[in-house]
């Protein structure tokens, strides 16, 4: 794809790129040791020639984000050199990186929600004279950049009213407006639908063909294989190696990342479903904002995993929150193991035996500033053995935490550490440990593996299957079709707040086939959707 030189870093430092432009950015023996003694990056040599899409992969905590932050001036190396545009540079902050043509699209987007797309694109470098902002020029500039790059946006729309995909395109336009020649994308697909991901990749390729150097950070090896020219793998702060994407497989990359052979195939046995645990009939939900639901009817039996597929925003979040008791359905009946939960509060839902792993763990999953130990007892702090006569027993709380930390392999120095300081994967393990250790009759797991590394991902998979085998009914909601197909015994598809697909046998299902239902190209008839459900359609059809 690219003929530029890519020999290992044996050139004299500081002369890495000359007029031949063989290196756009490079790190030479870069080490970063944080003030608390953590060595996040160890002696990394990395060279990326212009016009290349370089994927940088690694587990959480492998140091890839820290390395990128050094390229963008958010962190300074403890030793070694950062080379941009052929010379060793000291980047004191994003402003100096931007001045050198380095742009970064952060994982949590750095946009001002109440500003328009155009205002965000020009923020900090606004067109206009004498301290005034020329609003029309901002819109025109944005529209021109969008047309040139193929990153479609509505310049006049408010950022908080556009899709996540458009927000991300706005971020890239921001970098283009600042004349970036090197673009760092930090996990850009984590929040995108498959279609949006495809559009993003097309745009990234166009940018590459125009000479842009792209550093693509990701966990998703399938996407890395699709988009990148070369892959650099990091593990525990060191660069393990760089391979041409064409020569790599997902399996070989995964092995490099974790240092041993690791597959995501959990090898689950066929489900042995017993009695119906979750019974949903004629459920409808009128949403003031967001997606409404209608005519939802399905069963989940003890001992099976039922997956819910769908493009994000088609009612999955609403469904999960209704089942967990966080929202009230407008009509319909929900029974969990014989208890009618539709009218109960959240505590009532928990008493009925429902466990819930929310999709947004940062906002709804844990109290980030509280300790791991406290987060592990929030659903059971008011009764023995943790409390006696309403008084909490600190030693029991600690012992409880130590047991779960051990059992769920949560990597932390101590149970008293605040959850905020954990990596995404370990944070999620705390939540999953809490929910599963309560021994739920029904587990609602929403986007369990979003943003967690491959090791933690496999761990979650094993735990979900183990919970199933122990007799729990599991409702698995995910944006990741590979994950759904790997874990689900049966699969439902949501589109526009309605069930449009039901697959009772997932063994032969392909992602492409399910995708047709997600997009609304195909759908099952009502008879097929409710086949075998007792009392389905007892309420008059609306």
């Amino acid at each position: 794809m690219n003929e530029s030189g890519n020999g290992p870093g044996n050139r004299p430092r500081g002369e890495a790129a000359g007029v031949d432009g063989s290196v756009a950015v490079a790190a030479c023996a870069v080490t970063k040791t944080y003030a608390n003694g953590v060595r996040a990056v160890r002696g990394v040599d990395l060279e990326v020639p212009p016009g290349e899409i370089r994927a940088v992969v690694g587990e959480n905590g492998a140091g890839k984000s820290t390395l990128m932050k050094m390229f963008y001036g958010l962190e300074q190396p403890t030793s070694g050199e950062i080379i941009v545009g052929g010379r060793s540079r000291t980047l004191r902050g994003p402003a100096s990186a931007i001045a050198l043509g380095v742009g970064m699209v952060h994982q949590n987007l750095m946009l001002v929600p109440s500003f328009t797309v155009a205002q965000n694109v020009v923020l900090g470098v606004e067109p206009g004279r004498r301290g005034l902002v020329d609003a029309r020029a901002a819109v025109e500039t944005t529209a021109r950049l969008a047309a040139e790059s193929g990153l479609a946006v509505d310049p006049k729309a408010r950022v908080d009213e556009v899709s996540v995909g458009m927000r991300q395109r706005t971020e890239i336009l921001k970098a283009l407006h600042r004349k970036a020649r090197v673009l760092i994308l930090d996990e850009p697909t984590a929040v995108l639908t498959p279609q949006e991901t495809e559009d993003l990749f097309a745009a990234v390729r166009r940018l590459r063909d125009g000479g842009m150097t792209v550093l693509f950070i990701s966990h998703k090896l399938r996407e890395v294989r699709e988009i990148s020219d070369k892959v650099s793998v990091m593990r525990a702060g060191s660069l393990v190696g760089t391979v041409a994407t064409a020569d790599a497989t997902e399996r070989s990359l995964a092995a490099m990342m974790v240092g041993r052979d690791l597959s995501l195939d959990v090898g689950r046995t066929p489900a042995r479903p017993t009695e119906v645990t979750l019974r949903v009939r004629d459920l409808a939900y009128e949403a003031a904002t967001g997606q409404s639901l209608s005519e939802i009817a399905f069963d989940v039996a003890a001992g099976e995993v039922v997956g819910v597929a769908g493009i994000e925003g088609n009612g999955q979040s609403e469904l999960a929150e209704i089942l967990a008791g966080l929202r009230r359905p407008t009509v319909g009946s929900i029974r969990v193991g014989g208890t009618d939960t539709a009218g109960l509060d959240v505590a009532g839902h928990r008493r009925a035996g429902i466990g819930y792993v929310p999709e947004d763990r940062l906002h709804n999953g844990a109290a980030l500033d509280e300790s791991i130990a406290d987060n592990l007892v929030v659903d059971r702090h008011d009764r023995p053995p943790l409390a006696r006569r309403g008084v909490l027993h600190p030693r029991a709380v600690r012992a409880h935490a130590e047991r779960l930390i051990d059992e769920y392999a949560i990597r932390t120095p101590d149970p008293s550490v605040p959850v905020r300081s954990l990596s995404g994967g370990n944070m999620q393990k705390v939540i999953v440990a809490r929910e599963l250790s309560a021994g739920p009759r029904l587990l609602i797991a929403s986007q369990v593996t979003r943003g967690v590394d491959i090791g933690a991902m496999r761990f979650m998979y094993e735990r979900l299957v183990a919970a199933r085998d122990a007799g729990a009914a599991v409702l698995l909601i995910s944006a990741d079709l590979t994950e759904l197909l790997a874990l689900s015994d049966r699969l439902l598809v949501l589109k526009d707040g309605r069930l449009v697909g039901r697959f009772d046998d997932t063994a032969a299902l392909t992602e492409k086939h399910v995708g047709l239902y997600m997009l609304g190209v195909e759908h099952h008839d009502r008879e097929q959707l409710v086949a075998g459900l007792d009392d389905a359609g007892e309420a008059p059809a609306a």
Binding site: M104, L111, V112, G124, A288
Partner: protein, 311 residues
């Protein structure tokens, strides 16, 4: 009842509304600028009080009303910068620091007046004068409008000009863009190279200046002397107007004007046969009603807000 209507529709009443609304408007805009910069300025009350006291004292001793007003506003700016420094350099909670500044202003002004004039009540013994009034040529001859507008203090004019000025600052100038970006998402502002702290210091200085103008008006326009704790909670009512107005310049303008009208009504009704105790509760009752209304509106918008917050 008709007596009440007669009062409310009189030009004297409307003129009183403009006059009484002046400190609310200025202080509310001060609060708005700080709020949009991301630091709640709960010290509006103290900044007004300190400016009122400083203005009357300097004008009284120097004989220059202009110098007095200038020094009053300057002191409020310094207090604004102090609040910003406490928040940004020392990491203090803006609310706690603001309460501290309010207490400092209340005690400090009383102490200064007592030390200088040996008077525990205020500076009525010191002849300090008022800021000039402004009458636009030709306005006087217009019926009703002429009576309402003519002879208003220059600071009242300034207060009403502040609404379009603040709106222009927020939505047309580069500084306004940066201020709003910094207040809403400091990380995003920083990532594009906006000097976040400098913008916040400037915003708090401007906030202090506006509150200072409100304070100077109290002691050098509304009346011509300083009285201990003469702000009487106006800074807090102005803060209520900031939120009631939805953090938008024209919304804040209407809310502050409404509070001014309520107080003017209370003053006018006091001359009629209405129990004075009841009358004097009007501005405060209106504040409560307004805040309940604001909370209700926010709750209704809560779902939409949640989407924005998850960005």
């Amino acid at each position: 009842m008709s007596a009440v209507l007669d009062v409310v529709l009189s030009s004297a009443f409307l003129a009183a509304v403009l006059r009484i609304a002046t400190p609310y408007l200025l202080a509310a805009f001060g609060g708005l600028v700080a709020e949009r910069a991301g630091i709640s300025n709960i010290a509006l009350e103290g900044q007004m009080l300190a400016a009122a006291c400083m203005g009357a004292l300097v004008a009284g001793y120097s004989g220059s009303v202009a110098l007095g007003a200038l020094c009053g506003v300057a002191l409020a700016v310094l207090l604004g910068l102090l609040l910003a420094a406490l928040r940004l350099e020392l990491g203090a909670d803006a609310i706690i620091a603001g309460i501290g500044l309010n207490l400092l202003a209340s005690g400090g002004t009383a102490y200064a007046v007592y030390t200088l004039l040996d008077d525990k009540g205020g500076t009525s013994g010191l002849k300090s004068g008022s800021l000039p009034t402004v009458t636009l040529p030709g306005v006087e001859s217009i019926p009703l409008v002429g009576d309402v507008l003519s002879g208003q203090n220059m600071i009242t004019w300034l207060a009403f000009l502040a609404a379009p000025l603040v709106a222009w600052l927020f939505y047309r100038t580069r500084f306004g863009f940066h201020l709003r970006a910094v207040g809403e998402t400091p990380d995003a502002a920083e990532s594009v190279g906006i000097p976040v702290r400098r913008v916040q210091y400037t915003g708090l200085a401007l906030s202090g200046a506006l509150a200072g103008a409100a304070g100077v008006f109290l002691s050098m326009g509304y009346v011509s002397f300083f009285v201990r704790d003469m702000t009487a909670g106006r800074g807090f009512i102005a803060l209520a107007a900031v939120f009631l107005g939805g953090l938008r310049p024209w919304g804040v303008f209407l809310a502050a004007l409404g509070f001014g009208a309520a107080e003017a009504l209370a003053v006018q009704l006091g001359t009629l046969d209405v129990p004075p105790q009841l009358v004097s509760t009007i501005p405060y009752a209106m504040t409560l009603v307004a805040l309940a209304l604001y909370a209700w509106r926010r709750k209704r918008r809560g779902l939409a807000g949640g989407v924005a917050a998850s960005l």
